[in-house]
Symmetry: C2
Subunit: 217 residues, 2 copies
């Protein structure tokens, strides 16, 4: 197959995805649901961050769509905490796409509230696909190192909020915050960047404030 | 486009890749070069591990092909240490493929020795693509958590050696080694699993022994 043919095919995949994403976004907006696409590397603490955020949401109802290639540990944890959650297993696929979300939204049967869509742990591919979200939340960590914005620019460029997780480990790792921020700001002038720790709860009040403002709750 | 058509196209991409990979593998073998495909999440410590390994290789000449979406920090670090290294920037692509490696091998001009090919930081896509390697080395970390084999099975299944990095942080994180190993062994009965720390150097003698045995140095 020619390279041009491959490019044309990929473009058709993106176009189809974006069209479905726009429909989902409109349908969620009409229902009063604010959707957040949660992205980050494997083990960045996506579910742990959601648990911290959800703890203090008070009168806003949270929903979670959990994306994983396989397994459903995180959905079970969320359900055990009383959170309405549903699992998507992509069985190999490296990102969520909008048709998967369309089906999950129907199955989850949600009303007014905030919907977190936890993407596959992958700092590359999820950033390329709209899935009907109103905002993208990127979770980075001090253990991954401060060069991540330079090496994985798209995720940092597209994020509407950036969380730096695992700050309780700062005394034990080499994380150059200035270098990290310089990389972030070269790509993204406006996203709030908030230091948090899922272990201590540090920073999550600020994260919730951003989400509530963006979602107009 | 129909789903069948998309599957057919992806199969053609895999087939073309595997064919080039087999040619590269044969050509490297003939030259006496043992190639290691180094995989792991963003920030798992792939380059740091290579630096530790290379330190004690003695009379075996190391070469490195560095894969990154963007930036060339790691190649500069390796070159400053006197290691013959070359950068591949995929400019968005989430994994290395064999045509990229074919070109880099020609450009690097290598002779007898060990060639480390550091893949894009991504625990999903690189595991799907042969790139001419003789073995796959997977670097996981205690900071990512012990559920990774369950959530990202393919990388663990295909690995010929698994390194658990950042063990100096074990006192500060919740890492359940038994649960991790149970997940690994359900997928992979034979790969040696070695605990290391790039900070202390712990465990890298054992990693080198495995590499030397597999490469018949």
């Amino acid at each position: 197959m020619s390279e041009n043919k491959e490019i044309e095919i990929m473009q058709s995949v993106y176009d189809k995805n974006d069209q479905v994403a726009a429909e989902i976004n409109l349908s969620l907006t009409k229902k009063g649901i604010f959707a957040v696409n949660v992205m980050g590397s494997p083990g960045a603490g996506k579910t742990s961050s959601l648990i911290q955020i959800i703890k203090g949401l008070n009168n806003i109802t949270p929903y979670v769509i959990e994306g994983d290639i396989e397994a459903d540990f995180d959905t079970k944890t969320l359900l055990s905490l009383g959170v309405k959650a549903i699992q998507i297993n992509t069985e190999g696929a490296c990102h969520l796409d909008s048709p998967m979300i369309g089906k999950a939204v129907d199955d989850l049967d949600i009303e007014k509230g905030i919907l977190f869509i936890e993407n596959i742990g992958n700092l590359v591919c999820p950033a390329e696909f709209q899935i009907g979200e109103h905002m993208k939340m990127l979770i980075s960590t001090v253990t991954e190192g401060s060069d991540k914005p330079y090496k994985y620019p798209l995720a940092f460029e597209k994020a509407d909020i950036i969380i730096i997780n695992k700050c309780d480990l700062l005394p034990y790792v080499d994380f150059d915050e200035n270098f990290f921020m310089k990389g972030v700001r070269a790509l993204n002038k406006t996203a709030p960047v908030i230091k948090v720790s899922c272990k201590t709860g540090q920073g999550f009040d600020e994260v919730r404030t951003v989400l509530k403002n963006k979602g107009q709750f």
